[in-house]
Amino acid sequence: MFQIVRKEEMAKGTIIRFDIDAPKIAKKIKAGQFIILRVNETGERIPLTVADKDEFAGIITIIFQVVGKTTALMRTLNEGDVILDVVGPLGKPAEIEKTGTVVMVGGGTGVAILHHVAKAFKEAGNYVIGIIGAQEKEMLIMENEMISICDELVVTTDDGSYGERGFVTIPLGKYLDERYDIKLVYAIGPIVMMKNVCKLTKKYKILTMVSLNPIMIDGTGMCGGCRVKVGGETKFCCVDGPDFDGHKVDFDELEKRNSLYLKDEKDSLLYSIR
């Protein structure tokens, strides 16, 4: 049993932040790694990349968007409630090293995970440029945290209600044109965003890492449900990832695989409402 010690609603209540009391995991988990949780006895196992941790307080932070049955159920949980199972840390941690200038690109809920990785890059002594985007002003999350981490930060919104208007690829393109010292781009967000970022950086031949979120069950390499094609090879996201070289990832296949259970997800949500 894992207790929720803090709950925060963001982006009009569509994105939720939980601080969970899990001292053993907090001690070991690194940026880029994820956990799998199961809310109750009949629940499914869902993977969530950890957005932050506090080793001394024994707390891990997860931030998730309400999209399906499980996340909708989790939204109803409050401080003091418990989650039945939390397993972790899973996956390989992000490879953090001092490379010089790195650009961290995040969209939607991806910013939550991105800020954890960005923090690690900053702590390693890199010059960190942040580009974060959302659909509109209210949907933007963790701006303050990113400001405190990044040396430079650009905010975009699709409708122009805040920051620059348009997608994150526009300011990214500018940076890539202007700065020649960019060694690495880290992109975390919706599949479409990561795909477009990779398309762009490929022209400049700049290493781009992405964090993938395919369908998973056990998260320990046992089921193979999370297989993604990377550089023509099938990789298991849970043990080989979740971070991969974005230029090699077959995003189209990932997108199709992730939409396999859309109907079931809807059925499951409807069933729980009824």
């Binding site: 049955k69 939390v86 056990d218 390499g221 993604v228 259970y261 499951s268």
Partner: protein, 598 residues
């Protein structure tokens, strides 16, 4: 009338007692009697004599009181009223008079003498004749769920023996002096002894006897490939069918559990030493139970949210009810073992960290990384690894979706690639969840199918088709990126390969298309890398499995032991248990020779 009753009556007619004079039968028809009965007249009163299936233990019911040691020298045939006392033969134990009847077993008439002194158990059937009779008792089948019914539910298929059937089956055992079956068992269960106990109706003692060597008899009775182990060595199998050792093992264990007679074994004095077991599958459970009994404090770590390993996530409910697995885990907890769920060793705690707190570590993590064939279209929707399919169904209970949240993979025409037990499990699960056509695609021939004979038999009964000597070369997808067909190629058998089985060779230009909207790849598993990422010092072989000292199962890292699939590659439950036993013995030997480390 129940099926088992019919069988019982049939058995009675096979083995009846006749009067040596008028050839009328002495048998009385009686339902639900566990022994053979014949009636006679003694001192002008009716008397009923009871014999066990071994034809030896006497019990007498009579209206006149019969004292111990009394000689029943006035025994008459109930039909012709002639004396059945034979004056030519004497009891070989006490020298008293003997009675004579004739046994008919399968149209063979054999004279049968029995001592008339009450209390003397001598019976005068020659060993040769006794063997003949035992040979004539047919191998008893287990009553099971009707095949038409069971394809719609997840309840266990065989019901198990009733006591009557178990007695009959136990009566078939020849009690060889030099039993070959024991050699065939990877954990060397004293098979003749436990069968003898069953025959004596000491079912509980029989279960205890098995548990001396095997802590999970209810599981092994269900999932062991007996036909290639103990039963393969049974002497009866040469001329007839072997004794159903597995079914008897299952019977004894189930009896003990159902009667609530399972007792926690005696735990030796605390040694003060601690053991960590990684993985709560069959091997891990064996090590845990053995070491706990020897007085060690044991902690079992499991990565998933339920203990049991492959017994929980892999083997379906209809083959091994999860309540039984849970019972065994609870039993372990009652013994005092700690079970820590949701712990992925290597990530949350490394082996080195474990060694700081524990005196020895056992790695029984199994082979948990599914293999794919690496052919085109493998990442299409509705192409699953057997692990994913079975985990969804068994561990996550997807077959009860949407009551349980995990979506159930659905398919009408399902192709299962592979011929092992896992393939059979997938196929039979698919047919239970609404598939109209399930085909097993296997590259070798029927003879090489690695699955248990019973599973293949059940699968066939349930209407699963077998496409043998066939291998997929490509999966073909729809516009929506889900599978719609599979291109296959025919195979023929060539020269034997390293495993001794004949290597399948593709036949040129024999490609054909098999329509299917779901494919399950059940071709085996490789070693999972997680545990080794933090422990590179554990030596592994070329295939990635752990190298161990065969005698002790110790790895290249001192105090770290390993066994089961992570050493051998995909194998069976009982082999994992055997490996666990070897490691436990070696661990105990090593740890008792050194002083407390921590």
């Amino acid at each position: 009338m129940l099926e088992q009753d019919v069988r019982y009556l049939k058995y009675k007619t096979y083995l009846s007692f006749y009067c040596p004079h008028c050839k009328n039968t002495f048998n009385v028809e009686r339902k639900h009697e566990k022994s053979l009965i014949f009636n006679a007249i003694y001192k002008k009163e009716d008397i009923v004599l009871k014999l066990s299936p071994f034809l030896d233990v006497f019990d007498i019911k009579a209206s006149v009181p019969i004292k111990d040691g009394e000689i029943l020298d006035d025994l008459l045939c109930p039909s012709c009223k002639k004396s059945i006392v034979n004056h030519k033969v004497k009891c070989k134990e006490c020298g008293s008079k003997v009675g004579e009847t004739i046994i008919s077993a399968y149209a063979k008439l054999i004279p049968f003498y029995f001592c008339l002194k009450h209390g003397c158990e001598w019976h005068g059937i020659s060993k040769e004749d006794e063997k003949k009779i035992k040979l004539k008792i047919p191998r008893q089948a287990m009553p099971e769920q009707d095949q038409k019914l069971r394809v719609d539910n997840f309840q266990e298929v065989p019901f198990g023996y009733t006591s009557e059937l178990a007695l009959l089956e136990a009566g078939r055992c020849l009690q060889c002096k030099n039993p070959k079956c024991v050699e065939g068992c990877p954990v060397n269960i004293d098979i003749p002894s436990f069968i003898a106990l069953i025959a004596e109706e000491k079912f509980n003692e029989a279960a205890k006897k098995i548990k001396e060597r095997n802590i999970l008899p209810a599981l092994c009775g269900r999932v062991c490939p007996q036909e290639s182990q103990c039963e393969a060595k049974c002497i009866l199998g040469i001329r007839d069918e072997p004794v159903s050792i597995g079914r008897l093992e299952r019977f004894a264990a189930d009896y003990e559990r159902k009667m609530d007679m399972v007792e926690v074994p005696v735990i030796k004095n605390d040694t003060g030493k601690k053991i960590a077991v990684i993985g709560s599958g069959p091997g891990g459970l064996t090590v845990a139970a053995d070491m706990r009994q020897l007085g060690y404090s044991v902690t079992v770590y499991e990565a998933l949210h339920e203990a049991g390993g492959v017994l929980t996530y892999g083997i379906p409910e209809f083959r091994l009810p999860k309540s039984i697995v849970q019972f065994e885990i609870d039993y372990l907890k009652k013994m005092g073992c700690r079970v820590e769920l949701n712990h992925i060793i290597g990530n949350i705690i490394t082996i080195d960290e474990l060694l700081e707190h524990f005196d020895a570590v056992y790695i029984g993590v199994g082979a948990g990384l599914p293999w794919f064939m690496g052919i085109e279209g493998e990442n299409l929707g509705n192409v699953f690894s057997a692990n994913e399919y079975l985990t969804r169904m068994n561990l996550m209970k997807a077959y009860r979706f949407p009551e349980y949240d995990t979506p159930m993979p659905k398919g009408n025409k399902v192709a299962v690639i592979g011929g092992g037990n896992v393939a059979m499990d997938c196929a039979r699960t698919a047919i239970r969840t609404g598939a109209t056509e399930v085909t097993i695609v296997y590259r070798r021939s029927r003879h090489e199918l690695p699955a248990r004979a019973e599973e293949v038999h059940h699968a066939e009964e349930e209407g699963i088709k077998f496409k043998l000597l066939t291998s997929p070369v490509k999966y073909i997808g729809t516009d929506f990126n889900t599978i719609k067909a599979m291109e296959c190629i025919k195979m023929e058998l060539g020269e034997p390969d390293a495993s001794g089985r004949r290597r399948p060779v593709p036949i040129k230009d024999s490609n054909f298309t098999l329509e299917c909207d779901m494919a399950i790849v059940a071709i085996g598993n490789g070693p999972n890398p997680i545990i080794f990422q933090s422990s590179p010092d554990i030596k592994r072989n070329k295939r990635g499995y752990i190298d161990v000292n065969e005698k002790t199962n110790e790895t290249s890292k001192e105090f770290v032991y390993a066994g089961g699939d992570i050493v051998t590659g995909s194998a069976t439950v009982i082999l994992a248990m055997g490996a666990g036993r070897i490691a436990a013995n070696a661990m105990h030997k090593k740890l008792s020779s050194i002083k407390k480390k921590k």
